[in-house]
């Protein structure tokens, strides 16, 4: 029995991926800040014959990683796949980096970079001793391009990419893979908050991207950073 812990599971790519992996037979542990949409996801998975658990938590909270790891291990025994979908843009509408308040910048780094570091650290040890596991950071093209107003977000995602590179090197040969995936522009609530006037017809559907991510997880290519085309 394989298990997947997905943060940001209540909307967008996280939700689509939870539904997809549940359909593929994974037991899902969904993590998100808001309990109601998270419970709705769990109910949807259970109703269609899958297995899922909810852990309401904020990955940006410095003390949440130990709690999430403890609750997840108590509920499902072990975690095979960890996907970090939880992410914040900071203030929207997005602002020039020099107009970004330091506390907003800090919050973006906590949720998008330090939080994934802490949760990965809390779940990695058992993966190494079992000799298998996959950690997926969800990145963005804002990590490599200098898009105006995407400063805090882009810096956090660039940090994630680099964290994945170092971790992948350190864990070579352990059976545990760490990768960062750039899912491209998707029709999600977060994308709408960032770019309200985008034409949804030009955006990928999160369900299609989730299907592609699920395929990739079956056999991850050797690269650390990869783009997902649906």
């Amino acid at each position: 029995m394989s298990t997947a812990l997905i943060t940001g599971a209540s909307s967008g790519l996280g939700r689509a991926l939870a539904l997809r992996l549940a359909k593929d037979g994974f037991t899902i542990v969904g993590v998100a800040r808001h309990p109601e949409p998270l419970q709705a996801l769990v109910a949807e998975i259970v109703t269609s014959g899958g297995k899922a658990h909810a852990i309401p938590a904020d990955v940006g909270d410095r003390e949440s990683a130990t709690r999430i790891a403890g609750e997840a291990h108590a509920l499902v025994g072990h975690v095979d796949v960890l996907v970090h979908c939880a992410s914040t843009l900071g203030d929207t509408p997005l602002r020039l980096v020099a107009d970004t308040e330091p506390d907003v910048f800090d919050e973006v780094l906590q949720v998008n970079l330090a939080g994934p570091f802490r949760l990965t650290k809390a779940l990695l040890g058992p993966m190494i001793l079992r000799g298998r596991g996959a950690v997926v950071f969800v990145s963005s093209d804002a990590a490599v391009e200098g898009y105006p107003t995407w400063g805090a977000y882009g810096a956090s995602k660039a940090g994630l990419d680099q964290l994945a590179r170092v971790w992948a090197t350190e864990l070579a040969g352990t059976g545990v893979r760490v990768v960062s995936l750039d899912p491209g522009d998707m029709d999600t609530p977060m994308h709408a908050a960032a770019i309200p006037d985008a034409d949804p017809a030009t955006l990928a559907r999160p369900e299609d991207v989730a299907a592609r991510v699920a395929e990739l997880l079956q056999e991850l290519p050797p690269t650390v950073r990869m783009k997902v085309s649906s």
């Binding site: 403890g70 291990h73 108590a74 509920l75 809390a122 040890g125 190494i128 001793l129």
Partner: protein, 335 residues
């Protein structure tokens, strides 16, 4: 010996009962290909719950087992800063009594015949909501010699999985990722089991003498196979000795009442990596299954002379026959 007041970067005393040699060193140099290290992967529970009885008497409930089993010790007012032996006595509880915690209630469903402090409780919820509430309001069981209320994450080993341990299986602190990867690279196996390590103190002398209480354990078949092919087996902590020796005498999973002491013949474990606990402590008696009292006392005195620190967050020693068989220069390691 001074107790470590917080998690230190631990030093290691290598102790070889065969040659009688002992000196500071590293796990890496003491072990060779074919050796197997076994760890207890139980995560430390947020086992301490502050609350009150229905009558309003303050209590601290310390889970001795995972919450769905619910055996626990009741303590009176106060907290970890006071020696458990000097805490005010708790109110006497009876079956049916309700205990209230911040966002969680429990009912007493059994009181031990051995002590009225040892009770079994049933919480008002189960599964994910119970775990969520426990992690929201529970604290790790802390020790009075700590200098601050270290958070739960500092009571976890790097490989911590299911939250089964009432107190930290603290010998595992010596195994950081660097050490685990280095051991594996040289052909030393690192395998897991899960053992619900219980409480180390109850606040009542008669009950303390019954410790450890029966504890749940689970040895995976892959680990047991690795043990049977191992050159030497090193248990990381006393809970691993108890679980492995129980599995060697009975089923791979179950509840064990095995007590290990000077007269125990070890069937499966050759050595132990352990925190420092001095002569007179129950922990020391367990070590006497590995080496005799006089030799262990000498090791203790050597550790003291070298300035090592005792207890859960402190330094460690490896008691293993042949640990210093091939005398090599001490490897220098980064501070």
């Amino acid at each position: 010996m001074k107790a470590a007041a917080g998690p230190i970067h631990s030093r290691l005393l290598l102790v070889d009962p065969d040659s009688g040699a002992m000196r500071l060193g590293t796990l890496d140099e003491a072990l060779t290909a074919g050796d197997v290290v076994v760890v207890n992967d139980a995560a430390t529970l947020p086992a301490s719950l502050r609350g009150a009885t229905a009558a309003g008497d303050p209590i601290e409930l310390r889970l001795a087992t995972p919450p769905e089993i619910g055996w626990a010790i009741v303590m009176g007012a106060g907290d970890w800063r006071t020696d458990t032996d000097h805490r005010p006595a708790p109110p006497i509880l009876a079956v049916g009594d309700t205990l209230r915690f911040a966002t969680l209630d429990a009912r007493v469903v059994a009181v031990s015949a051995q002590s009225s402090r040892l009770v079994q409780v049933r919480f008002d919820r189960e599964g994910a909501p119970l775990w969520h509430a426990l992690y929201a309001i529970g604290e790790p069981i802390r020790y009075r010699y700590l200098d601050r209320a270290w958070p739960l994450e500092r009571f976890q080993n790097v490989y911590a999985g299911r939250p089964w341990a009432a107190e930290m299986p603290s010998a595992g602190r010596a195994l950081d990722h660097r050490t685990i990867l280095a051991l594996r690279k040289k052909g030393v196996g690192v395998h897991t089991l899960t053992h619900a390590a219980g409480l180390s103190a109850t606040g009542e002398a008669a009950l303390d003498r019954l410790l450890p209480l029966p504890e749940r354990y689970e040895v995976p078949e892959t680990t047991f196979r690795a043990l049977s092919h191992a050159r030497r087996v090193v248990a990381v902590g006393t809970s691993v000795v108890r679980a492995v020796e129980s599995a060697a005498r009975g089923p791979l999973s179950g509840v064990t009442s095995l007590r290990i002491g000077p007269d125990t013949e070890l069937l499966a474990v050759d050595g132990i990596l352990t925190n420092l606990h001095g002569p007179g402590q129950s922990h020391f008696e367990l070590l006497e299954s590995f080496a005799d009292h006089a030799f262990l006392t000498e090791a203790w005195e050597t550790a003291d002379r070298l300035g090592l620190q005792e207890h859960e967050f402190g330094d460690e020693m490896l008691v293993l026959p042949g640990a210093l068989a091939r005398m090599r220069p001490v490897e220098r390691t980064a501070a």
